[in-house]
Amino acid sequence: MAVVAFVVFLLLYLTPGDPAAILAGDAATSQDIAKIREALGLNEPFHVRFGEWVWRLLHGDLGISIFTRLPVTALIGQRIGPTFSLTVCTLVFSVLVAVPLGVIAAARAGRWIDRAVMGFSVAGFSLPVFVLAYILIYLFSIELEWLPVQGYRPMSEGVWEWARHLVLPTLALGTVYIALIARMTRAAMLDVLAQDYVRTAQAKGLAPNAVLIGHALKNAAVPIVTVIGIGIGLLIGGAIVTETVFALPGVGRLTVDAILRRDYPVIQGVVLMFSAAYVLVNLAVDLSYMFFDPRVRY
């Protein structure tokens, strides 16, 4: 995390762009910009600015947005709900759809259902999220008028409203993730299904489903869980596009907006948050190995 913090700060320091110029607006003169830079403390040398930022960080203060004058923690707090909802819904939806698809494809390897799942998988990878999003908006919002085009409602405004606003973003973002997990599940299952102990279980007369779920899937779980964990990074990247198309006020959009306007404290805050989330997810994935494979010990 410390390395991430340093690298992010350094990159922002080296990146062209001046928040003072953006803040001043189109009509400002160079002199106006110089005075704003001074007022914002942007003329301080790198080590002073980095030192101040680290000191505040150690006190749990991520700073204040240069533009909105709101604390970065408050900005992230406003945005975490939509991103968390979208990520969790997509994750749950994708796993619930993709794992059974992958298992079925492996169990029926070479048959039409296997080819259909793999075909869907290729299509899911190939179709950009924003294209799928526009198609979904056109079908379900404009033509059928079933679901809203854009926006987010927190759960406090009603579970139904919350869910309605997340259906299309979840479908758009989940497709590529389903494609990834389904493909990996199939590959892992095929590998396991070729093992001796599976043949032994079948020879003992266990029901096909019991062999498939109880023996094969459990043993294939480690690579599948690993891909799900890695995919969360993919999900965060995809969430930025999804949030933009569906106008969801999430952390992804906050990040893009902050980068475009060079709002350094916000960029540093969200990147730190994302890296912390990524570390935690990987930790959770590593710990889950012990559950799926008792041979794993830390």
């Binding site: 704003i36 007022a39 009603g158 139904w160 959009r253």
Partner: protein
């Protein structure tokens, strides 16, 4: 147990479904898609139009310009000027209150105008002429001038950035280069800061304490009667999604829509697409005067013969219906606009003449760098057209593309182009920002103090100064013509045309004010 669970779920679902509906029935909410995301609350530290528009929601002004370009009192009830033109006495309307309940006092007005005058170009001219501001009592204050300043009221009624909005004294005392974060004003709407989600939503509610004037609204003057309970600015960054939201009735007004989506929305009988901005915006091709080749007048003049405003208007606005050529340094359709001296920019393009001027300038084939912002279609389309024009007249030009944030940072760089500087950039200004020599800042040529490009020309400044001293409309027009005639010789920038980005609104919306700024009082939602 199961029965209890079922009952609980049923009640929860009913409550979830009923909650939003009951809230919606209770109040009338106008959903507005703004042109940009509101991220700065201070209309004095920034000239960003979105912040100016926010200013009109929450603040009021002492005076305001009407649609006939006549200054009208707004917060001021009555005012008088002494016979020698050196003292103005202003009296505020009764009943003016800030959103925190405090009355608007003379001290608030003086502090607000003084802060504004530190940042705004016209405000600075007023400040130069000012001897003192003095509060006579809580409702009356005076402005004493060192010398007559005929534009005093025009300055206080300035319609576009920076607008002299009135804030409480405690806020207006903030350093003019530091952002304020308290949106307390005395305007017709109150900002609900707790519901502000930068990058997504700004919420305003009707200021029930606001006392509107009796006159009909005309631009930002007249009665600001609010006819909805709540306004939500919903920022939708993706144009296709914004269009879909308008089609689906999820938004009521879309402030500025890209021209390519007009056919899509025009097919919907519940959506009206209309130009409600009478002045539109003006495209600008700006030179860097510090380095060759555009430190040479002939090189700048060459562009006047090469630029075809018709092409730029189509490039920016997609269709001639959304724009027109404007061969003036002052916004076409306003009193000071004219075509004096504009012959090089008009008519059939004369590339031979342009090439001849390039040759006469002694151009040595230096690389010309156009800095471009590909995330701003208005800038990008102009950049591409200028590149083609430069190539046609034998100039070795290239585009260096980035985003808007990079462009406005780089244009402040005074190094040579090969060391991170630049030769040309494009932008645009709204009509009210180019109506006269006082506000038309790109026309200035005061060297280091000038806008990016830093032209230095004593004659331009002299002619501009003469305009400030014009005493009658006829004198003002003649002085502005002189500024323009010289501008077409000195060429501080090339005007690239006048365009309008239309507004879309649902057919149940009425009362939109025809003005160069999107104003939301008087708007009714049936």
């Amino acid at each position: 147990m199961k029965r209890h669970l079922r009952s609980f779920i049923a009640v929860a679902l009913l409550a979830a479904a009923a909650g939003p509906w009951s809230a919606a029935l209770a109040q009338k909410t106008l959903k507005f898609i703004p042109q940009a995301d509101l991220r700065i609350l201070d209309p004095i530290t920034t000239t960003a139009y979105i912040t100016r528009n926010h200013g009109y929601m929450v603040y009021d002004t002492l005076f305001a310009m009407d649609e006939k370009f006549v200054v009208q009192p707004q917060m001021v009830d009555k005012y008088e000027m002494s016979k020698d033109g050196l003292t103005y006495t202003f009296t505020l309307r009764p009943g003016l209150k800030f959103h925190d309940g405090a009355p608007v006092r003379s001290a608030d007005c003086i502090a607000s105008v003084e802060r504004w005058a530190k940042r705004d170009a016209l405000g600075q001219k007023l400040a130069e002429a000012t001897e003192s501001w003095k509060a006579v009592d809580d409702k009356t204050f005076t402005l004493k001038l060192k010398a007559p300043f005929p534009l005093t009221l025009e300055a206080l009624a300035k319609p576009s950035s920076n607008v002299p909005f009135i804030m409480p004294e405690r806020i207006a005392k903030t350093d003019a280069f530091k952002n304020i974060d308290d949106p307390t004003g005395s305007g017709p709407f109150k900002m609900v800061k707790s519901e502000w989600v930068p990058g997504n939503k700004v919420v305003y509610v009707k200021n029930t304490d606001y006392v509107p004037r009796k006159e009909a609204p005309s631009w930002a003057s007249g009665g600001k009667v609010v006819k909805v309970d709540r306004v939500e600015w919903i920022y939708i960054p993706d144009s296709a999604t914004a269009a879909a939201a308008m089609n689906a009735g999820e938004a009521d007004i879309w402030e500025q829509m890209p021209p390519d989506l007009i056919p899509l929305l025009s097919r919907n009988k519940d959506v009206v697409v209309k130009n409600i901005d009478p002045l539109g915006s003006m495209g600008i091709l700006r030179f860097n005067f510090l380095f060759p080749p555009f430190n040479n007048e002939k090189m700048r003049q060459a562009l006047l013969y090469a630029v075809d405003q018709n092409d730029y208007v189509i490039g920016i606005a997609g269709d001639k219906k959304n724009g027109k050529p404007c061969y003036s340094y002052f916004t076409c359709g306003t009193p000071l606009s004219s075509e004096v001296g504009a012959d090089p920019l008009k008519g059939k393009r004369n590339f031979e003449k342009a090439k001849q001027l390039v040759k006469e300038s002694g151009y040595k084939g230096e690389k010309v760098v156009i800095i471009d912002a590909t995330d701003q279609p208005i800038v990008h389309s102009q950049s591409l057209l200028t590149l083609e024009n430069l190539k046609k007249i034998g100039v070795n030009a290239e585009i260096q593309a980035g985003d808007w944030g990079t462009l406005i940072t780089r244009r402040a760089v005074k190094e040579p182009p090969e060391k991170g500087g630049w030769n040309i950039f494009h932008t645009w200004l709204v009509g009210p920002d180019m109506v006269n020599p006082a506000v038309d800042f790109p026309v200035r040529a005061n060297g280091k103090g000038a806008w990016f490009g830093w032209p230095d020309d004593a004659k331009t400044e002299e002619l501009r100064e003469a305009w400030f001293h014009a005493k009658t409309p006829a004198e003002s027009k003649a002085a502005a013509d002189a500024v323009q005639k010289h501008a077409f010789e000195f060429v501080p920038f090339v005007p690239t045309g006048q365009f309008i980005l239309p507004t879309a609104y649902r057919s149940n919306i009425s009362g939109l004010i025809i003005a160069p700024i999107n104003l939301l009082w008087n708007v009714e939602k049936r």
